[in-house]
Symmetry: C2
Subunit: 650 residues, 2 copies
Amino acid sequence: MQNYRFAPETLGAQELAELDGAWRRCVGNLLRMTALAQSGHPGGSLSTLHALLLAFGNFAVDPRDPLAEPRDRILVSHGHISPGVYAVLAEQGFFPIEDALLSFRRAGTPFSGHVETAVPGVAWNTGNLGQGISAGVGQALACKLKGHDSRTLVLMGDGEQQKGQIAEARRFAVKFGLNRLIVFVDWNRLQISGRIEEVMPQDLPAEWTAAGFNVEIVEQGNDFAELYRVLRAAYRGEVLDPSRPTVVLARTTMGYGVPFMENQHGYHGNPPSLAQAREMLAHLGLPDDLAELQARRQPLGIGGAGPRHAPPRPPVELELGTPRDYAPETRTDCRSAYGNAMEDLARLNNQGPVPKVLAFCCDLETSVKLEKFHAASPGAYFESGIQEHHTAAMTSAVSREGFVPFFSTFGVFGVDETHNQNRLADINEATPKLVLTHCGLDVGEDGPTHQCIDFIPLVSSLFGFELYYPGDPNQCDRIIRTAAARQKPVMVCMGRSKVPVLLDAQAAPAFGGDYRFVPGRADVLRAGRDVTVLTFGPLLPVADAACRQLATEGIEARLLNMASLVPLDRDAVLAAARETKGLITVEDHNVRTGLGSLVAGVLADAGLGVPFVRLGVTDYGSSGPAAQLYAEQGLTAAGIVAAAKKLAGR
Amino acid sequence: MQNYRFAPETLGAQELAELDGAWRRCVGNLLRMTALAQSGHPGGSLSTLHALLLAFGNFAVDPRDPLAEPRDRILVSHGHISPGVYAVLAEQGFFPIEDALLSFRRAGTPFSGHVETAVPGVAWNTGNLGQGISAGVGQALACKLKGHDSRTLVLMGDGEQQKGQIAEARRFAVKFGLNRLIVFVDWNRLQISGRIEEVMPQDLPAEWTAAGFNVEIVEQGNDFAELYRVLRAAYRGEVLDPSRPTVVLARTTMGYGVPFMENQHGYHGNPPSLAQAREMLAHLGLPDDLAELQARRQPLGIGGAGPRHAPPRPPVELELGTPRDYAPETRTDCRSAYGNAMEDLARLNNQGPVPKVLAFCCDLETSVKLEKFHAASPGAYFESGIQEHHTAAMTSAVSREGFVPFFSTFGVFGVDETHNQNRLADINEATPKLVLTHCGLDVGEDGPTHQCIDFIPLVSSLFGFELYYPGDPNQCDRIIRTAAARQKPVMVCMGRSKVPVLLDAQAAPAFGGDYRFVPGRADVLRAGRDVTVLTFGPLLPVADAACRQLATEGIEARLLNMASLVPLDRDAVLAAARETKGLITVEDHNVRTGLGSLVAGVLADAGLGVPFVRLGVTDYGSSGPAAQLYAEQGLTAAGIVAAAKKLAGR
């Protein structure tokens, strides 16, 4: 089917006939897919099918070069309608339909149950409802920043509208005037458990109107002519207020065109039988090739239908500048060092018409020290309100658009609150930079709800992420520049308090001058052969004091700064285990799941049994200054000294 | 100040004078608190102060018996206005004001920066915005179920309205007709970063109207007479539609009554200086006792102002019934065993006017197998739509109201998406039962977005939670009954697939009959002295097959079922390490952070070095049947056999 680019004002008989033919083939193919896999979601695929065909048949997308710029983005948020998406993409020539028929929901192939970017034409991996619109908002923002005229279309389900994150995404889109964003809602009035009116009633037009969108209602969303008219108007900005984004609420029929599926919520997520599919193929005048396809599909086993990774994208070339040096007498916090480094990155990289380094924030600009970046590069700074779910998901999408976006908030909001958004970012092979302040107990006197003491296990659970924790402002500066250039998703955590500049044995800044931060490499702050203390962040000065105390008692402690928590420096851990009499981990983190757990893993994997003590947070903290909270949890120099003496046999 | 219970139709001169006096004292006390702590949030405390005084001065709450039933609930969602809350609670006689003045934001005391239930009169620990309303909805639902006429008031900030979770909570409240829920929004038009209109514009009346609430707007929210009139009407149900909940949007002034703070967003989270506080005390005609208070406060150190835990509550007495037995030939999934056990619990405990066991679900009733519970106890089943953030937070609140609530959804939605809600539940000492299906790669062919492979580290990070993973339907039945009776927050995870009934050495069901599930105790499924295989859940049959294969080759493997993941059976791990030649962990979970990591921790803590291999998920899975995905990740009997042979030196 050709791409009309919305040229005709209305669809003529020829176009309608062409569309009807394409529609029949797609219905047949999505039924084949789900019947062959005996799994999948035909109901929503069928109700959204007209919109999918009109979108891929009119938006500026090129099957021969799916990532060509500029292009429109078509993002399917209700990713479970993958059979419909694959059918339409194949119809438009993105890949041979056979690939999908033989591989849909087959292990090791890109034709997943929920759409993934490994499939040409798919703009974002979705599947967890409510997040797709945030990714689409990120793509629309990226296009706007690049000065493209392109549109972003986000197709969504109606049950999905219940997710709160959507309200956040809408507000951001309106605030930043993303008027080339078009949202399509497949309003078939059914969700898995039945009629939406009974499962969770919602007034969609009123909600979207209240959010400030143009609201266009399509009465027959499975009628090509009517749907075309409304989508064309939305595409051309012929709406009530062209400065605002637009939602198209299209009344559709679940299972449309397949009589036994129509308005049957059971077909939200259940396939037809092979016999049912066969009958429908006959009804549609399509060949019955199910037996042949099944015979070819069954022996295939795992994989073999193309790569499962998204196509690689060129790295963003950044000027990283010269690291800043903080002199020994400086007393500042790592947050400020982050802010200063970001100011440098803005001045070095954002002077052209299109900025390269972006910053996103959730109503904590001064707390996370982004004021200088904001001032230096106002067009690259985005205040997103108290909307962390949306912001995390949006940032990850922007990172795949040729930008280096930083998202900063407090640890609890960027780790605990948004773990699933970070997980989806990782699955999408996105490369956001999350710089989180107020981690650990070191949050000021805000109390346990604000203390993020589980960032290590949460980030460790994401296969692609790296996790750094600067020891002082000098190291923070260098970590931020490293993170900016890293072609990976990175999280940088830090506390709130001012910390001393760490010094080496010559009383010079340990991380100033030529020091280079290398992911996966620990810093030896003190040499020693008796015991090893492994720590990071705000407890470094405490550990250092303990080591000095131990030295006066004749115990030489090795002090390791594990600023790179993921990847961890396994060699440094193993060397410590072999060369010293015991290991002590000290952390402003849940003692069960933090650095101590990582070190335990290294020891156990190597089959090494050595005296080992973990010091950390053993229960939710109270509300007080960090030093008092550390004292409450035994995280003091005295506590470390006592543990070290025990290990050293004193 | 006496409690008027909204008896006067309007406030007379006497009441107004009394309120004005109370207001002055409270202003003085909240300024004292923040000035003494040099930390805290005076701005919103002052704008909400009139509402707080009218609420605690009219709703049915008793300072002498704060937990008496029936009572109204007053929940402060913007928990950072703790200085205002403590001032009003003390004014009403819940505790002496001195407690708060000397302890506000001091480590080890209950007077946290964000309100906590350890303070008498506080209904819920809040601090992470947007979650309080969900807890309030849970409390309102609980009151309704108990047949109480009581009201639930949720006080909220206006910046907070940006959080998406609020949209979810509103819908639930409307769907279930919680017309005794009153939400008060402190509409002072400022948030941390400045004017809301600039930070993140939002049309509050339109949004709440679209959600189906009665919307009452108070033009002068810092005027006792006007605010009283509207709150009284809301309290008495004198609103447009008395069958619906009501929101009161009150235009207020941040910093009201303290001239240098008024409309200054900088005072959202910054205290006055001692000099400024002194000046204001004089202005209000209050004694200047700051120096004396400071002298008494400074030497106090940590703690000493009452318990930091919420008051204990009586356990819910449940009938657990007789466990069901699944015969060796049975082929079912653990989900169905869960559903059957829940049906039993409903029949045994929900026959009276007030049900004891409740179930909450997010549009996955048939997938999580709650149909039988729903049918057996329709009044105790709550379909909450695709709204997991709200549902998790609400369920945790309900668990503190004399009910045993179960919340079931897929693992990714109940762990990854709602980790922060679960964290807040734990901090609130709530006891929800989260039963999550579709955990691990065993989710059907839905692909990586639906595979929850990090439940172990996430739940391990919550100090109060226990985590179980049944090995077969018999064990699942017993685990569910145990979880129901447990006075703790519990998560039970399970896969989607049908699994065989596990058999003991006599070919009888290993977990049938008299078997009792004991948290913290591993099950020895096979004895052996050569190597030990530790696993759980759907890989048990695979591991068992491996052990049988090994036996044919003369290697006797011990097989441990670690159904209790938290707490873990440390003794069983240590015994295996001492008695066999090596340990292999096998898991349908991220290999970095799962059972292998827990076992490594036990070994390292004991200083034991033994041959140790971890088998698990090493990258995001693809989309296919569980057996294929396990094969992709090397989680096969052959993989286990190979690892065991290596450990056993073959």
